[in-house]
């Protein structure tokens, strides 16, 4: 089982990224540990343990249902972001056959635009009315 050279080359490009990741993780870990070690230790009490609501005693748990609009935004993000990612390979290859690729993209963006228009007309991202 010898992987092909191209795979080795691609993977080894990412080794520095891995080193960077280790650096970032250890930096975060170091900060969190050191602050626990150096920081002041004081006894806790019920008020200190409660959620901070500007002095008002918190009523009920905060884990409650929130507006469905956030969910809509998340779904729309997934849809549109995937379409945006499709544009990258197209952009890089654009020079190769500009006229043809331009026509293709007109169709793609046209459909994307229709979808966008539908979303706007349906008021899916309109937050001014509730």
């Amino acid at each position: 089982m010898t992987p092909c050279p191209a795979v080795i080359a691609t993977v080894s490009e990412y080794v520095p990224v891995l080193v960077m990741l280790i650096f970032a993780v250890s930096f975060a870990g170091f900060s969190l540990v050191v602050s626990v070690l150096l920081g002041k230790k004081a006894p806790t009490n019920p008020v200190k343990d409660a959620a901070y609501e500007c002095g008002m005693p918190p009523i009920s748990d905060a884990h409650q249902r929130f507006s469905v609009k956030f969910y809509l935004v998340a779904i729309l993000f997934v849809l549109f972001d995937i379409e945006v990612v499709f544009l990258y390979p197209w952009a890089v290859q654009f020079q190769a056959m500009p006229a043809f690729l331009f026509a293709e993209m007109l169709v793609f963006i046209g459909i994307l635009f229709l979808g966008w228009w539908y979303v706007i007309r349906k008021g899916a991202v309109d937050w001014s009315t509730e």
Partner: protein, 515 residues
Amino acid sequence: MDAMNLHLMLPEIYLVLLGLVILIADLYLAPEKRFNLGWWTAGGLSVLAVWLFATPTPETVEFAGFGLYRADGFALFMKKVFALTGILVAVMSTGYLKRYGRGPGEFFSLVIFALTGMFMVASVNDFMSLFVSLELVTLCLFILAAYRRHDKLSGEAGIKYIIVGAMAAGLMLFGMAFIYGATGEVRFTYMGADGQLVLLSQTVANLESGWQMTALFGFTVLLVGLGFKVAAVPFHVWVPDVYQGAPTPVTAFLSVGSKAAGFILIIRVITLVVPTIAPGADLALVDQLVKLFALIAGLTLFYGNLAAIPQKNLKRLMGFSSIGHAGYLLLGIVAVLAMKAAGEETMNGVSAIAFYLFAYVFTNMAMFIGMVIFTQGSEDSHAIDDYAGLGKRAPLLALCMTIALLSLAGVPPLAGFFGKFYLISSIVEAARLDGYGWLLVLAAAGAVNVVISMYYYLCVVKRMYMLEPTSDEPIHLPPPAKIAMVACIVLVVVIGIFQGPFVQMATGVLATLGF
């Protein structure tokens, strides 16, 4: 093979555009006019149906989308079936949605997008396009099943369908991965090194025995996934609940469209990917599949029909009966597989399935249109006892539903009888092969089940005519739905009496099936 050939995909492109037009038109129409979108849909699909029926059956297979898509006789035939299904679903949904009063634009565009998926399913030539197009169908149907979202049963139907559907999709991908692992190929037909078209089944046939077992495992898992779609026992558990909970037009769409899509895929996999074993060669792979499918077909037949007997709800009863019909259709698959195992390329099973599905569309649709008219879409509960005395309240409706039920049961000379007849005769033909005499048992099971199903269908008919009505309220038959229902019933009778041209149409699909 290596060309886009967009002109072959024009029906699908037309459907996508139609769906988009409906979706956008919904934004601009006044709320009360939105329900007219059902007529737009029916009209648009009628144009498509005329177009498809005017298209001559292709003499050779043509490929589009760089080999992802095939245009052949079988695909064209199934597309006709789907287009007719779509029209009937649109007609019966319009009145239904008007009473239910909610989101017609989305409903009809989802129906059209599901149809697009079914059209793509009819033309798959690649595991990838198989998966994507089947998921397009099921994703739309998930939403449609849960369309009455303030109705608990409908919500339950949607959730159950999603969970089972997702599991089936996962299993299918798993199976595809094994077949790909064994053969290194996802396309069903592709250009070989010498410029000749190669069938994936030839590649499978040339594998070493170890890899053949890998491929067999892949087939089994893949077909389990497809078994969920066609509601074969033991993968049927979702059917009764989903059929009962989904809005009635969607149930109709599920029982015809989704099931047909599943069978098309099974047929495609079996004709293009499962190898035909040369006489005297190692039979292991295909022979195992024959036994497996024979077992599943037998179980499905008996389970569906026996479990339908105690049902108190007509929609639930239709769900179980639809499992029974899947059992009949599986007989055709068994016949094809047995032929393959014996090294013969006779595909009578496929033409029997095609004919059966064609007849099944009209029979089932007539039944469901009748049910929609009966409840007027308002509460959508279908206790069988409510149908008591329908013969007095609405004689035409009762007559049509009776004929539909009789055809479903398989009473000659209706269309349903000949569908079953051809399927059983294909299995009898397969039983003549060496070592497959035991298939006669399966044929006998098919015959016995006709009798069983006769019992529970006739129970419904008995209530319609023998019992006194529970309410005197007259039932209004809206003209479009009435015309559609009567047209279906006329076709059921006509197909039964003059089967010649229809059988010819169904056997015509065989010519281009292999390549």
